[in-house]
Amino acid sequence: MTGWMDHLTIAPIVLPMLAGAVMMLIDERQRTLKAVIGMASALALLVLAVLAMTVADQGAAGVRVYRLGDWPANFGIVLVLDRFAALMLVLTGILGVAALLFSLPRWQKAGAHFHSLFQFQLMGLNGAFLTGDLFNLFVFFEIMLAASYGLALHGSGLARVRAGLHYIAINLSASLLFLIGVSMIYGISGTLNMADLAGRVAGLAAEDRGLLEAGAAILGVAFLIKAGMWPLGFWLPNTYSTLGAASAAIVSILSKVGVYAVLRLWLLVFGDGAGASSGFGGNVLLVGGLLTIGFGSIAVLATQSMARLAGASVLVSSGTLLAAIGAGQLSVTGGALFYLSSSVLAVAGFFLVVELVERGRAVGADVLAVTREAYGEGDDEDSDDGGAGVAIPATMAILGIGFMSSALLLAGLPPLSGFLAKFAILSPLLAAGPDVPVTTWVLMAALVLSGLATVVAMTRAGIDAFWASPSDEAPRVRVAEIAPVLLLLALNVALTVQAGPAMRYMEDTARSLHAPRDYTGAVKAVARTPGTTGGTQ
Amino acid sequence: MTHLAEIPAWAAVLTAVLLLTGAVLTLIGTVGLLRFDSFYQRVHAPTLGSTLGIGCILLASMLFFSVLESRAIIHELLITALMVVTTPITLMLLARAALYRDRTEGSDEVPPPPSD
């Protein structure tokens, strides 16, 4: 461990932490400076993430293990960079840049310390994706959540506070479950390192297995709450629909963190090598995922507010992912990863579009619009909201395109990647063998029907927003607000056009997730075997 | 509990006596807390524990550890000093708060405020 490149693994965590801390030292009024620092950090994170992806995409050699404090792996905390982590880092990096850019004209002014919280949010996400330690995962979940509480409440206001209360209450409960689960796993297996744990599960005594699995089940409940699985995910549409767009865009990956954790741990710990425990709980994921798609679709249909529609779409995508993961097939997992990437970008873009669209519509926009400082110290009164935004030519057209594209993506209709993503899940499911299990048909039906529900709801909302109301005056929008929408859109187009290479990466990722030899091998290589001494001090 | 065997008899007996005295005093104090009818009587009760009660136990501790480690272990004095300073604050504040509350409720147990 000497080269600077080795620190690539930790840089996505340390960089935003430093940026966030530095910005605490800067006066709130120096927004431009903070914006510059924040943006520089976000861009650097994106670059680092892409770099990490190229590093990770090198087969067995691509798994990088970073030993914090130079301690052996099963002993100290390790970060593990592999394809899956790198993929999530890239997605986070993209959303970070997009959301931050979007927030610059307005959102950053809506409350105190937006920039620090934003950086901590990125730090939490990156950490959660990189860590190879179960308890450290908890810590990063908490960082992520703590920052998301801040961003969820950013701008304050009745609806946001009301939903935030639910959000926090439920996530606190989930955190408690997380702790229970982790400590049970430690108490039974004696380790917190995920790779180490994977190695120990198979050899577990029969009388201990039940408790370990119970711990895993409780842990799973915690993750599934975050992922929004029915009946644990009602908070999700409620909360997401009140978020500010910039927050929502970055938070849109939050539900995927739950999915990430499930996918990572489930395949690692309860994969084929887990002996009697292998495949534990897979059916729950499948059935739960299907139910979630069902509920998400109902919620999609039952709403008239665009923001809530976006929130409900998150449920549908979570459900799809869970069901696809629950199918437990390598080839399907690849498709699921493709779907994950596509839907994360789509949902984020949709949240941004929704805010811009709703801005033009005074009624009902109170939730989304920046609530002005009611009264108080009056120290953030320098906002120039009145004249904010330049009437960009064809604003409505661009917003319309943005909206329609998001709708297509979420409904899984051509020409964007949403369609290919559904195809990438369904096709391998059908190709798995001559006999198609019932669940595949149900999943297929669920995907078709959820797409239909999305079409119906999106058409309703889109027609209301773009066609029904005489749009003699386009909402005042700034270039910095439209640019991220177009950026996310362009990425989705790229994902469609370059579906081949993208899918190749996803399939490689899926392969290494299903046969985590490279992962565990890399970690074990830097672990201390019992009995041997000699550290690296 | 091997360390207990290292204590000489005199110290053991002294420690035991001090411990019991402290505990009994404390218990008596809380019995007062239980038995007394009015709050203003009850407020006196815990001072048994927080003065002599804890004093005895701190003495026992000092004695015990000094003998055990064969050097003067007197940091318990800190606790003593702090107890003397902080317990009265709570009790004073509490008594005055109770007085206020009883006065506003027109209780005849308490004297009226001095007024001309």
Partner: protein
């Protein structure tokens, strides 16, 4: 013999102290007024300090001293805050 004496005494002391805590707890639980509960709580803190000290003697460890010290130094802060809340309706004006 001495070990037995000490063990017995410590055990008895702890039982007495816990009984004292129980009496204090009765006030915390029953009141009747808020000030009674606060008073019970304060007593509980003091008694707990003593219990920790006896535990130190029992295990021969001086490490529990810190916990006792912190109760003595800061335990009163919460009871004082409660008292202030009763008197003034808020803790910090």
């Amino acid at each position: 013999m001495i070990v037995k004496l000490l063990m017995g005494t410590i055990f008895l002391t702890q039982i007495l102290l816990v009984t004292a805590m129980a009496f204090a707890a009765f006030r915390v639980l029953r009141g009747p007024r808020a000030q009674d509960r606060v008073l019970g709580m304060d007593t509980l803190y003091v008694t707990a300090t003593m219990l920790l000290l006896t535990f130190g003697i029992r295990t021969g460890s001086i490490l529990y001293f810190e916990a006792a010290l912190i109760i003595a130094l800061l335990g009163f802060v919460s009871t004082a805050a409660l008292a202030k809340f009763l008197m003034r309706g808020e803790v910090i004006e």
